[in-house]
Symmetry: C2
Subunit: 341 residues, 2 copies
DNA sequence: AATTAGCAGTCCGTGCGTTTGAGTGCTAAC
DNA sequence: GTTAGCACTCAAACGCACGGACTGCTAATT
């Protein structure tokens, strides 16, 4: 547990770093955040915070920059307090309430207003939950490959192909198919994303099925990401405005990642079970893009439609602002949807 | 008119510059393109080509780089010859023929394959021509503003607001409305984009309407761009791979422009009347984004659906490749659509 | 025991003069 | 009209020294 002063200092470093993007010196902290003790004291504290893994010193004669651990700490602090109010609130309100039209329009409007207000890239994923799985079929292509066909209320998806382990015969495939149908029929394809493989289902007797099941579920996940969701990204260019992407090649890589809609959908949707409210993924922590943080919130947009709204930015993100903006927006949406009923 | 040798030299400069992105020296040309005369001769030719506006010398001890005029010349040369064949042809074929599904899928597939093969940003604009204008209404908001409402078969668009000149009274508005309906009813909203204001319609008697009409038509154009088309962009990140965007701020600006779908739609659609076939817009020439060139081709995708396929890249673009890829793709599409009928 | 002032030490960034070399324009010869 | 040769220009690369931003440590202070 951190002492009160350490907390203050840590938050000061993060705040300052978020603002300036450059290493924070002990003197800066003393002058702008903690005038009641000397820079030497702060230096000592910084030193221990560094050894605790919260801070990083780029080189010996430089200040400190926060580690991802520090950002995580900072965000958790922020999430518990709820001083979320912004002056841009009216702007958001006006923009959204004015643009009330079809659901597509609202999605687009949301991405635009978020990107504009926060200056970060914004993402919205929409899932139509009304389309359910009717059947899963496994087709032995007799070349060692298995074609996974998913039939839903509205269409047939057959993108998945998996290698079949040698020892599988016709009967075993039929059996596996039976299991899969038992588990997944009636569910929405997007539910795979958060699906954890239930080892309990496959006891020793079926141990041999394990590998195949895993592969198939991976296919299902991929297919669901590709087909079950509507992804909109806006403000990619904002990413480049931040100094961590001064290097064009890094910038290009990040952009390429953001053009991969399936990847984005996965990040946005895989919220570790938080039903409603804000989620923050920082850096490598939870496979956010390299050096990035992703803030998301889930919203219900009607009986069968739900979505995730997200902001993608550098780990050094203005979380205070982003969190409050997302909070405001989901509040407005809840209100809008409520009125619609 | 350029001498045969000047043409050769000019094309050599452009070819080399497209490949290397750095100023081309007289010696290079001699060694790689024109070994039958000396570098001194070439230097003389380069000098005159520069004074003719085809070449630019960044500084006195550097080689020459092509001007936009040079690229235009180069492209026109290319367009008349038709040696369009690529090894990637099969890749494209496989990709597209395999992905034959709904029209949306094809659009997405096209952008992906183009971006992948050419390494430039790719754009597709689709217009559904079946939705026609039923009425145009002008609503005097009595605060000096006029709301332009466009009613189509399928919906009501009311995004447009224009300032009303002082001297307009109710009757004149009614008259203007009458005119607009006469001209535009039954047409598709996308037709505004290439619509040239027919001054003949408004003779001296109606001269006072001129200003208002112009404003309204601008609104119509904007609305049509926003509502009548489906725009997909893919491979924004490819833009950054080219050395003209080594500066992140420039890169950001270009990306911002490419996120403006209306702008993109306008560029792609406004093809100056070329019905079928390739169009090349170079730099400032025809309001392509700063420093960019846009290659487009129009395709018909069925009775009521037509579209434009485009590639956006730096002015120093590999036109040879891009032109051939677009050619190949539109050929495949024509074939696919033909089969569909 | 915690805090602080003071100081030596580290290392980044910057500015500056020099060198290098790529490429031209010009002149004179072919 | 073409070409060899040479003087000239100028951007880019290099090396170097200086300044200064910060720290860590030590010794004094509370």
């Amino acid at each position: 547990m951190l002492s009160e002063r350490k907390k203050k200092i840590l938050c000061a470093v993060v705040d300052s770093y978020i603002e300036t993007a450059s290493p924070v010196a002990s003197k800066d902290i003393q002058q702008e955040y903690l005038s009641d003790c000397s820079s030497a004291t702060i230096r000592n504290e910084l030193s221990t915070l560094e050894s605790m893994g919260y801070l990083i010193q780029p080189h010996v004669s430089a200040g400190r920059i926060p580690s991802e651990k520090a950002f995580r700490f900072y965000v958790n602090q922020l999430l518990t307090q709820s001083d979320v109010t912004v002056k841009e609130a009216e702007l958001i309100e006006n923009y959204l309430r004015h643009k009330v039209g079809s659901m597509e329009e609202v999605m687009t409007a949301i991405t635009h207003v978020i990107a504009e207000v926060t200056n970060y890239t914004s993402v919205v994923v929409k899932e139509d939950m009304s389309d359910r799985i009717t059947a899963i079929k496994l087709l032995d292509l007799s070349n060692g490959k298995l074609l996974v066909v998913i039939v839903t209320d509205s269409r047939v998806l057959k993108d998945g192909m998996v290698d079949l382990p040698d020892e599988f015969d016709e009967e075993m495939i039929a059996r596996a198919q039976h299991w899969l149908n038992k588990i997944f029929c009636g569910k929405h394809i997007s539910e795979f994303v958060n699906f954890n493989y239930p080892f309990a289902l496959v006891n020793d007797e079926f141990a041999q099925y394990n590998a195949l099941f895993k592969k198939i579920i991976d296919v299902l996940k991929r297919v669901s990401l590709m087909n079950g969701m509507d992804v909109e990204v806006y403000g990619e260019n904002k990413m480049l405005a931040h100094s961590e992407y001064a290097n064009v090649e890094d910038a290009r890589k990040i952009l390429a990642e953001m053009e991969n809609k399936e990847r984005i959908a996965e990040i946005l949707t895989n919220d570790g079970g938080v039903e409603n409210g804000l989620t923050v993924k920082i850096g490598a922590e939870e496979n956010a893009p390299e050096g990035c943080a992703v803030v998301t919130t889930r919203v219900h947009l009607g009986d069968n439609v739900s979505g995730s709204i997200g902001v993608i930015g550098p780990v050094r993100m203005n979380y205070r602002k982003v969190l409050s903006v997302l909070d405001k927006i989901s509040e407005i949406i809840i209100d809008l949807v409520g009125k619609g009923e």
